[in-house]
Symmetry: C2
Subunit: 381 residues, 2 copies
């Protein structure tokens, strides 16, 4: 038994640490290998609750969920798993209610801790549950996908989807800590890696030209720990700035307006990474048409996504008008910041990116988009 404990501690070698410093919350972030399944992890969780609820999806459950549950139980903790079907199409109010019902039936109350173990969908869902269960119970986040490590885990946004669109119902709620453990990447499918890189490339485009260049020059053999650290640092910085600078956080939505519309129109059968890669190309195209971005930068962005083998294609059934109508559903916003525009790779000028996109330009751009990408993948052979 004692050996086992020493063994566990031995796992936890080094980590890169950050803290998201907000007015109301300080959220520590640890990035490293073999952080979870350690006594440090267990002891931290114990300070937050006397019962553990592991929320995960059915894929991650098999890979790591059951193992984590067993690990806790071996350490004499009262823990159990709630597993939901994988995929964004299950990120709904109905799934949230099912999770809550399971917790209520097990008489889980304020003294419990939720451990969110999974990709962005699981983190969004588990955090939303945590934020409204008994009006808020503690939460620890353990992202298992590259995408979730660099995006969903940081910033406190929680949400579910509805028929009308993505993430329209949700809350702001921060975890007590985020454990970004690279061991989970070992089992990550290739497409999921690519999904992660869509957001990593985004950080390069909107905030860090050096990151962009290094990704552009070398598409393989990255130091993932270093890249994840950089992305977390960028997201942390933007989320912190957002408390002082009104809505600066919106720049994180670069590529997401069109991306969300496509995801919704495709009933979430297109992956987030594929959708926002198209969205980023589209926003860059708009930036050129609005005479903000140089054409050469647009082409560089375009070829970046080709380098990383993004399919850059969506269903032929979706017309320019379909997309326009879907975009319109967000048109009455106080600020028409539907499209985040860029002026050059690595930076966004705040007074520029918020300007309204002319309807004619938008329509023309949508026709271009559909002609170019709404077809079979042979275009990119």
């Amino acid at each position: 038994m004692k050996n086992y404990i020493i063994d566990l501690n031995f796992y936890n070698i080094m980590s890169k640490d950050l803290t998201l410093n907000l007015k109301e919350n300080n959220v520590p972030i640890s990035i490293g290998e073999n952080l979870v399944f350690s006594l440090d992890f267990l002891n931290f969780c114990k300070t937050l609750g006397n019962r553990f609820v592991i929320i995960t999806d059915q894929n991650v459950e098999k890979l790591y969920g059951e193992k984590l549950n067993l690990f806790f139980q071996n350490q004499h903790m009262d823990s159990f798993i709630i597993s939901i079907p994988a995929g964004d199409s299950f990120k709904t109010r109905e799934t949230k209610a099912l999770i809550e019902d399971q917790m209520l039936q097990k008489k889980i109350n304020k003294s419990a801790l939720i451990i969110a173990l999974g990709g962005g969908m699981v983190l969004d869902m588990a955090a939303f549950v945590a934020s409204t269960y008994y009006r808020g119970i503690p939460l620890v986040m353990v992202p298992t996908s590259l995408l979730a490590m660099v995006d969903a885990s940081i910033g406190g946004k929680t949400a579910v989807n509805t028929k009308e669109g993505k993430n329209l119902i949700g809350s702001y709620y921060h975890p007590k800590k985020i454990f970004i453990d690279l061991q989970f990447l070992k089992t990550l499918p290739k497409e999921e890696y690519r999904n992660g890189f869509s957001e990593i490339i985004k950080y390069g485009i909107i905030y860090d030209k050096d990151l962009f260049s290094s990704l552009y020059e070398k598409t393989q053999g990255h130091d993932l720990e270093e890249i994840i650290y950089k992305c977390c640092l960028i997201k942390k910085t933007i989320v912190e700035r957002d408390e002082k600078e009104n809505n600066i956080r919106a720049i994180l939505n670069f590529g997401h307006t069109l991306g969300h519309s496509l995801e919704n129109l495709e009933s979430y059968k297109i992956s987030h990474g594929e959708a926002i890669s198209l969205g980023m190309i589209f926003a860059s195209f708009l930036s050129v048409k609005m005479k903000i971005l140089k054409r050469e930068d647009f082409f560089k962005i375009f070829s970046m996504f080709k380098k990383y083998h993004f399919p850059l294609v969506f269903s032929q059934n979706i017309s320019a008008k379909d997309i326009f109508d879907k975009l319109l559903s967000d048109k009455k916003a106080k600020l028409n910041r539907n499209f985040v525009l860029i002026e050059k790779i690595g930076s966004i000028k705040e007074d520029i990116y918020l300007q309204e996109v002319d309807e004619k330009i938008l329509k023309k751009a949508l026709f271009w988009l559909c002609n170019r990408f709404s077809s079979k993948a042979e275009l990119w052979k």
Copy 2:
């Protein structure tokens, strides 16, 4: 037209004003007559949103909802009503989703304002919707019942019920302003008045012996504006103290532990006022049994509820064991503060009210409760 405007302004004469001062929020509270349907009200709402969603129930809709909607529309505002069935049994996640769907279909977004018009159920529901719609949109509260004026409107608690219990899913979310308009009391049914007085009496018991005495001496012809003002002041004070003193807010739950259990066991067919009047008598009884409260104070509290004609009866089908089991479902809380106990009328000593109630005493007290109140009302003829 101009006359009409002057007329409207004329209505709005005087109000008593308070502000709930919290770290993150300052919530102004106006108490007076004819505050709503005024240009001041309209102009205030206009500062918060360009579309108004009036959330109300089907009873209040007929009395005031349609009138308010018409008032806004006459002033060229884009407003509409969402009306839900009245009664706590509809305070569910399903009703919340139906409201959200209506708003989504009307393409309501962050630039809209929700106006909650109704009793506690409507306020809790509308505030919960506001807190998670687009991760939070502005909210104005207009309580129409005496109970909601002195309780639900202040403090930022939002919630829905589930099969397992009351208010287990919810959030903390404050309105931009609370308009307590006494004109709505003119149409309030007698039983609803009594419901309001259950909470008013509670404030007397837990925080203000003078309020208790004045209510005890004179059961009719109250200066309601003054009483509401006092209750709001007490609730504001406790909610503000709660930010510094850990969980002092729990004293507001005096009578509510048993009350909630009864409401749940009765499937919300017993009114909140009736349930918590029994709950307060029970908590006072426990306080005597725990040797904290004098017997004479208990009898005074008991007779107070008789003076105000509370029925003090619940269904014969509910046994002491049923209630005990229901109470147990909250037993794993970090602090066993299920029962708020009092040491004398008008004050609660913090180190005392949090102490654990012995299981034997609790069981005995439940038998007493059932013998005394779980029967036909003839006991109180």
